[in-house]
Symmetry: none
Subunit: 240 residues, 2 copies
DNA sequence: TATTTCTGTCATATTTCTGTCATATTGGGG
DNA sequence: CCCCAATATGACAGAAATATGACAGAAATA
């Protein structure tokens, strides 16, 4: 189903970076992976290009002279017209700070330099897939549980489940990030947003509430505690 | 704990180029930068050397008589055994075509001639660092045992295994440092961190717990006692 | 505004982990 | 083959991490 030669319009990717060498490198990698590439060398041009061409995804350098990538990111996210365009930030700084700030401001992924063309392409694809799925608002199913983003509703074996807003977002986060462990800190960042200052134990409590809510027919077993590391949502129920 | 003077095996770099002068030049630059260098003057020899010596990185000339660099690259990437070895392509042609084809076929970087030895070394290092980082995230398999760092999960023959935090770190240490004996002191340093003051016998106990945990289907045999010296994790099970 | 629901925090209960010790077992040199 | 030192094992109590229930203020809803 994926390898089918199908008349799929190429995705348009906008690359925003002040260094020509990096633009070239990215552009080559993406073009050879079958994307349509647009280029912009500063935030102003980028903004214009985004408005004009409505790219499907933007690769945005963190550090640029003048308006920085972060500022542009914020501007884009503030405007309804552009808020939904996924952004991947590129940065040389491996600092946590920038990561958090970037995710907080609404970046969809974050690639530290240096990275391989392969990694780049695969992450671009990953983001596009995710966005595509979210745009489709496809319900996610696991076991008997059905999570329907469009209807903002969760049911198990047909029975509708009542979730508080935070529990809903938490479940959504887990469903879209299965099979890997997230620390309490990360969960706070992703589910609550990066600029909250909350006790990490708060996560425990919400985990508990979520588990309780979906405990029908043992679905709470999907939410797994990884002692010393955090929590994991996994389809393979482990026997801890 | 990282800056410790440790016996770090040198990275092996294979240089593939038909011109002796270039081989010499590259080899000199890399050796003086502390790498072990292997040489091959054509694609056939290179392929054999790669199979035999499993180099950590390959510098591959684009243009060679007979099988070209690009063909070799494709062949390497097609075979699982060699697909993960990072390749840096060297080329005189600044043509877009070759660049695209190279990146497309899975080269990890691309250095146009002429280049300075310093640039070469720094790009080699960059690629190795990156690969190292990516490798940290990838599941490690030994026998039926699968160690998944991202999922923070260990399974044997599909069955999830429960490990306490310290056992998990211990196993991770062993998996990333196989085939070598470590004293109890060294293990304490690496797994517990350099500034703990613990009885060395504690290591024995955790070794035992780890063995017990992974003893399913005899996987505990990988953890070997070396009397008078310490412990070793080895893929080749010996029957001492 | 009254009412209901939701949230974050706390105190407490429970579970799991860890380092140590006492004792058993093992391996090798003499 | 015996003895000694090194290693393995089982048990245990304190420590650490997580789960739970309760509650009061905040936020949403009526």
């Amino acid at each position: 189903m994926n390898d089918k030669v199908e008349i799929m319009p190429k995705h348009r990717i906008l690359i925003v970076d002040d260094e020509a060498a990096i633009r070239d490198m990215l552009s080559l990698a993406l073009e050879s992976a079958g994307f349509n590439v647009l280029l912009a060398e500063n935030a102003q041009l980028a903004h214009a290009a985004i408005i004009d061409h409505q790219p499907d995804l933007v690769l945005l350098d963190w550090m640029m002279p003048g308006t920085t990538g972060l500022e542009l990111l914020r501007r884009l996210k503030r405007d309804d017209l552009t808020a939904k365009i996924p952004i991947i930030m590129l940065t040389a700084k491996a600092e946590e700070d920038s990561k958090i700030a970037g995710l907080d401001a609404g970046a969809d992924d974050y690639i530290p330099k240096p990275f391989s063309p392969r990694e780049l392409v695969s992450r671009v694809n990953a983001v596009l897939r995710r966005i595509g799925r979210e745009a489709l608002q496809e319900p996610i199913t696991i076991g008997e549980l059905v999570f329907d983003p469009l209807g903002h509703r969760v049911s198990i074996a047909g029975e509708s489940i009542n979730l508080a807003p935070t529990e809903f977002r938490l479940l959504q986060f887990f469903l879209t990030h299965q099979e890997r462990v997230y620390s309490r800190g990360q969960i706070l960042d992703y589910v609550w947003g990066g600029n909250v200052y909350l006790d990490e134990r708060t996560v425990d409590v919400h985990i508990r509430r979520l588990r309780k809510a979906i405990s029908v027919a043992g679905h709470d077993n999907y939410v797994q505690t990884v002692r010393g590391a955090g929590y994991r949502f996994s389809g393979q129920i482990s026997n801890n």
